[in-house]
């Protein structure tokens, strides 16, 4: 019996042959945390050890509330900076870097065959580059700092075979929402999701990051693409060290296989208050919005900003809409600045914010009042997530977001070509 990519990557780390269902203990390649490092530090202090075991494996990225919006967050950031200095943690990214899930790929931590755990539920993003990456809790992050070990259950794998090509106005985000709408938010609970098939290799690394990121909303433990020539090219000049490319054997065991033709998809919108409440854009077009958010770890990359700019060019944000744009990282920010993309967005009336999570988690920079409606390119629309419990969040692609910002109501991006 062949092995899946996940079984191979985890097996190599465990130093033995492993199969789905087994629980193994591994020493991860990297352990990610962000602003929640402040809480993790408190747990770590309870363990009675002075030093983290492998400081070079710890990656801390401040991204959730950057710069600090109030005193308690400022104190958290301060305690993290002090801990980083005290422990000699070399991989620390302060408030001028970006969202962790964009920074780790760009900075060459997220590599094929690596095992990366992170105290953030969207850690599966790094599977876009062929890593095994999964979210963990705060307590276990603290313990992993102390021991350099973590237990993991080897997941079964669901394969999603993709064929065809997206029509104009349809993107990876639409595919992810369609999948979750069709199969429910627990469709891949505890499983690995492999995106495969002839169309997988056509997708850009940015689009792969979007899909791997959204695998968390399918309940997946990890979501991934087998590394290919596109992956390796993207990693040139970024990879921090050697890596081993793995992919699933032809006779590997997949628990289930779904097939999707990209060529028949329409733009999709997830409606309040669950990510699996998905409708084609036509079914919700015309719904007035107060705010549009373009960014986040799901859709804040250069291709996302360019898709939005293509619609904003020569048009204006509707007078009744606040349109917030957050490049996912400073690298994206600089590229968008150089390419003129940011100029198009600013000329259209978008508000550009510092790279970070922004209002996605409801802590700062665009909190919603009661009764307000936001269309966002982020990944969660749970009740109250971006502010008042009586506000509403719709999720969609950057193109749908830009069309909506121009129209002042949910709009089909294909009408703005």
């Amino acid at each position: 019996m062949g092995k899946t990519l996940t079984e191979k990557v985890l097996g190599r780390k465990a130093g033995k042959d492993v199969q789905a269902g087994e629980v193994i203990t591994v020493s991860p390649d990297y352990v990610l945390s962000h602003d929640n490092s402040a809480a993790i530090i408190q747990e770590f202090r309870k363990l009675g050890v002075k030093k983290v075991k492998a400081p070079e494996k710890i990656v801390i990225v401040l991204d959730h509330i950057v710069p600090a919006s109030e005193e308690k967050y400022a104190q958290n950031h301060k305690s993290i900076r002090e801990f980083v200095a005290e422990q000699g943690i070399p991989h620390f990214f302060d408030i001028n870097a970006g969202i962790c899930h964009q920074v780790l790929p760009e900075q060459g931590f997220a590599l094929p065959g690596k095992v990366i755990v992170g105290s953030d539920s969207h850690t599966p993003s790094y599977g876009a580059l062929g890593a095994f990456a999964t979210g963990i809790g705060r307590t276990e992050t603290a313990c992993t700092w102390a021991t350099d070990e973590i237990w993991l259950r080897v997941p079964e794998t669901m394969r999603i075979d993709l064929s065809g090509r997206f029509l104009a106005g349809v993107f990876a985000k639409d595919l992810s929402l369609k999948l979750i709408g069709d199969h429910g938010a627990e469709m891949a609970n505890y499983k690995a999701v492999e995106f495969a098939g002839p169309a997988a290799s056509d997708l850009s690394v940015g689009s792969r990051l979007t899909l791997a990121n959204m695998s968390a909303e399918m309940g997946a433990k990890n979501g991934y693409f087998a590394p290919d020539a596109k992956t390796l090219k993207w990693l040139e000049g970024r990879a921090r060290g050697p890596f081993v490319v793995a992919s699933s054997d032809p006779d590997a065991r997949f628990e289930s296989v779904l097939t999707y033709d990209l060529g028949v998809l329409e733009p999709q919108v997830a409606c309040p208050h669950t990510v699996d409440n998905v409708k084609p854009v036509g079914a919700v077009a015309g719904k007035p919005v107060d705010q549009v958010l373009i960014g986040t770890c799901t859709n804040g990359r250069l291709e996302d900003l360019e898709a939005a700019a293509a619609i904003f060019k020569g048009r204006k944000v509707h007078s009744g809409v606040r349109c917030l744009v957050i490049p996912a990282s400073w690298e994206v920010y600089r590229e968008a600045l150089k390419s003129g993309t940011l100029a198009v967005l600013v000329d259209a009336g978008c508000v550009i914010l510092n790279s970070g999570c922004g209002p996605c988690l409801g802590a700062h920079e665009g909190i919603m009042a009661a009764g307000e409606v936001c269309l966002s390119t982020s990944n969660r629309n749970f009740r109250g997530r971006m502010g008042h419990r009586d506000s509403e969040i719709y999720l969609a692609s950057p193109a749908t977001a830009a069309a909506t910002a121009v129209a002042g109501k949910i709009a089909d991006p294909r009408e703005f070509a």
Partner: protein, 163 residues
């Protein structure tokens, strides 16, 4: 090995009904958390559960938010294990890391009903009742060690003290 009584529930028992959101941001000791365990699913539970009891449920137990209290409150209430068809993955990790055994066994879920007496044998991977003996995939030593220590923090503390 220890004995307890079964409390039986259905599919998709979410963390909101295990430990309601209205208490999630209140800092409370475990014995206080236990008083709210399963409050919005089974108001009878918290007042009647006894140490060693077992919760049996369907698929996707613990779906929803990642709040650690949803595992902590059951453990504080004395529940020795949750037996289900499947668990939401973050719940599965949180439960073991907080010292609550989570066992997957379809046959036991099919057969067991509320009030049944069961013995759990972790070493042999068995759930025994007068109806039958059900096998679950035995938990590996590393996970049993975490459960026996009472959770990952205590387990890690002991392990580090030995080094």
């Amino acid at each position: 090995m220890s004995q307890g009584i079964v409390w039986k529930y259905g599919d998709n028992v979410n963390t909101d009904v295990i430990f309601p959101g209205r208490y999630t941001y209140q800092i409370m000791p475990p014995e206080e958390m236990a008083k709210h365990a399963l409050e919005d699913l089974d108001p009878e539970f918290a007042g009647s559960v006894r140490p060693g009891d077992v919760v049996v449920a369907g698929k996707n137990f613990g779906c929803g938010s990642s709040r650690e209290q949803a595992a902590a409150c059951l453990r504080a209430a004395g529940v020795q294990a949750v037996v289900a068809r499947s668990f939401a993955r973050i719940y599965f990790r949180n439960a073991i890391n907080l010292g609550l055994a989570v066992l997957q066994c379809d046959e036991a879920v099919d057969a067991l009903e509320k009030g049944d007496a069961v013995d759990l044998d972790f070493a042999r991977g068995e759930i025994r009742s007068v109806k039958s003996t059900f096998r679950f995939l035995p938990l590996p030593d590393s996970v049993i060690g975490i459960l026996e220590a009472g959770g990952l923090l205590e387990y890690t503390k002991k392990k580090l003290a030995k080094e």
